[in-house]
Structures are given as structure tokens and as C-alpha cells.
């Protein structure tokens, strides 16, 4: 068992999931509640990582994070081949799952409830916080788990932008690849079991969330 890879994977996944939470929620709220010009184009871009080969995502991330990109020019930070790059790559591939789930849940909240909150003196932000998000929480949590699980399993793009440096950027999926290449099959087997177990539990939990509510969502 490669413990440093496991710890690094946890670290990368936690940061990636935090990014997913903020970015996915903001995008979900805006695209569920407002008509935005170019809405379809924005959505297509968010969903692209679902279908693009990891090498293409990695290539775009190299452009975004590499020399000459605004991030390097303006902020003078080079994230390439650090675990931050791994976290960003993981967030990008997890985003479509988080976004889809969060947007659907937010869009399905009864508009009448939001109108009721308006008549009770709530600002739009307050309504989001006290009515919409609590009622959409199952979808948001499900999206976070799906996106987080996908982030945990990120391999291809991570390899391209963060490399495969043991102890620095080598996450579990990369360590498994290394172990198999070096014919350390027992080592690989342990990590495969861990990855599969985590994914299984995550998906099981999402199924639980999707089961019919005990409480009715809207009262007719």
C-alpha cells in the first residue's frame, strides 16, 4: 500500500471537491434561475470534460496554467507539476457531474415557495440560503459525491499537468499504474480495492439520496 499516494489523493480530492462545491453551485444557481445569453454554449463547455479524452483536457489545462497564460503572467504563480494542478484537473473532470445534479435540484424547487419568501421580506440571497438550497440539498450533495468520486479517480489530465512524482503529485490512480508497470501486483491490488470500495460506497450513498423523499417536497 502506497500511503503517501493515498494521503495525496485525499488532499487533492478534498481541495477539488471544495472547488466543485463553490463553482458548481454558482453555475448551477445562475443557469437554473436566470436566462443568460450564450447559456447553451456555457453548458456545453462545462460538459465537454465528460466526452473529451483526458489528453485533450490535459492539453487545455497546460495552455491555461502554463507559461504565457494569464494566471502565470498576472499572478506570477506556476501551478504546473504541483499537486495544485492535480486538484484543478480533478475539479474540471468532476464539474459536469456536480453541475448537472445541482442545477436540476435547484430548478425543481417550487417557485411559489420562493415567491412566498419574497413576500416575507427576504432578499434574493437570503431566499437562496434559507429556501432554495435547503430544498435542493439532496441534489447538491449527490452532485458533490459524484463529482468528488470522479475527482478522486482522475488519471490522464493529472498525469499531463501534474506529472507522476512520487510523494509530490503521484495520486492513487497514478501509483496503481506505476505499481503495475513495475509488476508490484500486490501493491496495486490493495490500492485497487481501496479505490473500488470508495467508489462503491459513494455511489451507494447517491442512490440512497435519490430514493423518494419521506417528506413531500411541495404540499399540494
Amino acid at each position: 500500500m502506497n500511503w503517501s499516494a493515498l494521503m495525496l489523493s485525499l488532499q487533492v480530492t478534498i481541495v477539488a471537491t471544495s472547488i466543485l462545491f463553490v463553482v458548481g453551485l454558482v453555475l448551477g444557481v445562475f443557469l437554473a434561475r436566470f436566462r443568460i445569453p450564450g447559456q447553451i454554449i456555457i453548458e456545453v463547455i462545462i460538459f465537454l470534460p465528460l466526452v473529451l479524452p483526458p489528453s485533450v483536457i490535459g492539453y487545455f489545462l497546460l495552455l491555461a496554467l502554463g507559461r504565457g497564460s494569464p494566471i502565470v503572467e498576472w499572478f506570477h504563480v506556476n501551478l504546473l507539476f504541483s499537486w495544485y494542478a492535480a486538484a484543478i484537473a480533478s475539479a474540471v473532470v468532476g464539474l459536469p457531474l456536480m453541475f448537472q445534479s445541482a442545477r436540476t435540484a435547484i430548478a425543481s424547487v417550487d417557485h411559489n415557495l420562493e415567491n412566498a419568501a419574497r413576500t416575507l421580506g427576504s432578499s434574493e440571497l437570503e431566499i437562496l440560503w434559507r429556501v432554495t438550497l435547503p430544498l435542493a440539498r439532496r441534489g447538491v450533495i449527490a452532485g458533490l459525491i459524484l463529482g468528488g468520486a470522479r475527482a478522486l479517480g482522475e488519471f490522464g489530465a493529472t498525469l499531463m499537468v501534474a506529472g507522476n512524482i512520487p510523494g509530490q503529485t503521484q495520486t492513487l490512480p497514478l501509483a496503481i499504474y506505476d505499481a503495475v508497470q513495475a509488476r508490484r501486483y500486490e501493491d496495486a491490488q490493495m490500492m485497487v480495492v481501496v479505490m473500488t470500495a470508495v467508489a462503491f460506497v459513494g455511489l451507494w450513498f447517491v442512490r440512497q439520496l435519490e430514493r423518494p423523499l419521506n417528506r413531500r417536497k411541495t404540499v399540494a
Binding site: 415567491n115 419568501a117 416575507l120 413531500r216 404540499v219
Partner: protein
């Protein structure tokens, strides 16, 4: 408190007809009576700020809720949250993730003793034993009483009710009408009560306005508008189950 007057004079082009409503309401229960699709709900939405008229003016004494630019100077459209208008929706619209008490306390959350205040309101509505139940654990009549308590929590001067009791049986409806009359008198509320049920109009309305195709057809005391003779309109309204 000085009795206020709510003045509504609005125009709005809707999909199927043009809404053109002029009403003035004091501390009384005005029933907006008419068939579904006549523009009654749209009128309430305009007063609450959930719909923006094309032209006209809505004022509560000195407070301008809405004024189109054609009327004296700059346009005004006060956001819903600042209008302080209680609204009881047809579908109750209680927050399903909050208990009865939390629903009533919703508008009070920034104030001290919000829960105590909410408890008092539930007490007045004979609901205190159900304070910790969730909406789906309450009957229709109980839910609507919670919705009224919730709307009254912020001490509005204006209370709007949209077909509030139409899903309830007549015995419960009669008791809720008594509650509503009592609450209106206690707080000198301006109440607008939308219904397509003539019986409702007669039990609860101090005055009624008949709405047809987006316009007010007649206004007056229910008995004056529909004297106990067999007017065709009355028969029609009663026959359709109102």
C-alpha cells in the same frame, strides 16, 4: 393605528386579455370575485410586487409600491420584500423543510424572541399543539392556518388571500372565515380575498368587486350586487360549484 387606504390603478397586457383594474380598499375585507382566468390572481401579484404592471400606480397611503413613468415623474417599483404585504397562496406554499413554528418565525429571524412571537401567533390560530409538526403532517385546514399566521408574523397592514380555502370542506371553511373576520377587525387589516365561490364572497366579504375578462365589472356590498332574487349570474355561479 390610523386606517390606511390601498389604491390600485393598473394596466397589464396579458396573453389572453388586458388586465385593467381600479380598486380602492380600506380596513375591510374586499372580495375579488370572478371566474378563473379573469385576472384576480394577477391583481394580487401586482400588489405584492410579484408581477410588474405595464402602466398605472399602486399606493398604500404615502407609500408608492408601483408607479409607471407615465405618471408624475420617475418610475417606482418597490421590490416585494419591501412592500410588507402578507400573502396567503392557494397552494399554501409552506416551507416543507421547516416546522409550523419555523414557518411562522421565518420572517422574524432577525428579531429577538422570534420563536416566542411565532408561538403566540400559533396560539391565536389554535395551532400551538402542532408547532413542531412539518407541513406534510398537517391537514389542509391546519396548513392554511399556519400560512395565515406566517403572513401575519411581520405585522403587515395589507393581507392578500388567493383562493385560500378552496380545497377545504365547508365546515372548516366556515371556521376559517370566522378567524379571518376576527383577525381583520383586531388589526384593522386591509384584506383582499380572491375567490370564485359566491358563498365565500357572501360570508367573508364586507364589499365585493366582480372581475370579468381582466376588468372590474361592479363593486358594492355582496347583497347589493347579488340580491336574493334568482339572477342568472348567481345561479350560474352556484351551479358551477363556485
Amino acid at each position: 393605528m390610523k386606517p390606511l387606504r390601498l389604491k390600485v390603478n393598473i394596466e397589464k397586457r396579458l396573453d389572453t386579455f388586458n388586465l385593467s383594474v381600479q380598486i380602492e380598499v380600506g380596513a375591510e375585507i374586499l372580495v375579488l370575485f370572478g371566474p378563473s382566468g379573469a385576472g384576480k390572481t394577477q391583481t394580487l401579484n401586482a400588489i405584492a410586487g410579484l408581477m410588474t404592471p405595464d402602466a398605472g400606480e399602486i399606493t398604500l397611503d404615502g407609500t408608492v409600491f408601483f408607479r409607471s413613468s407615465a405618471n408624475k415623474g420617475a418610475a417606482i417599483n418597490l421590490p416585494t420584500r419591501k412592500r410588507h404585504v402578507g400573502y396567503v397562496f392557494q397552494q399554501y406554499a409552506l416551507f416543507p423543510h421547516l416546522s409550523a413554528l419555523e414557518n411562522v418565525a421565518y420572517a422574524l429571524w432577525r428579531q429577538p424572541h422570534a420563536r416566542e412571537r411565532a408561538g403566540e401567533l400559533l396560539e391565536r390560530m389554535h395551532l400551538i399543539d402542532l408547532a413542531h409538526r412539518y407541513p406534510h403532517e398537517l391537514s389542509g385546514g391546519q396548513q392554511q392556518r399556519v400560512a395565515i399566521a406566517r403572513a401575519l408574523a411581520m405585522e403587515p397592514r395589507v393581507l392578500l388571500l388567493d383562493e385560500p380555502f378552496s380545497a377545504l370542506d365547508s365546515e372548516i371553511r366556515r371556521r376559517l372565515h370566522e378567524d379571518l373576520l376576527r383577525l381583520q377587525a383586531e388589526a384593522e387589516l386591509i384584506v383582499i380575498y380572491v375567490t370564485h365561490n359566491l358563498e365565500d364572497a357572501f360570508t367573508v366579504g364586507h364589499r365585493m368587486a366582480v372581475v370579468r375578462n381582466g376588468a372590474i365589472e361592479r363593486t358594492g356590498a355582496p347583497r347589493d350586487i347579488y340580491p336574493q332574487t334568482n339572477t342568472p349570474l348567481l345561479m350560474e355561479a352556484l351551479a358551477t360549484g363556485g
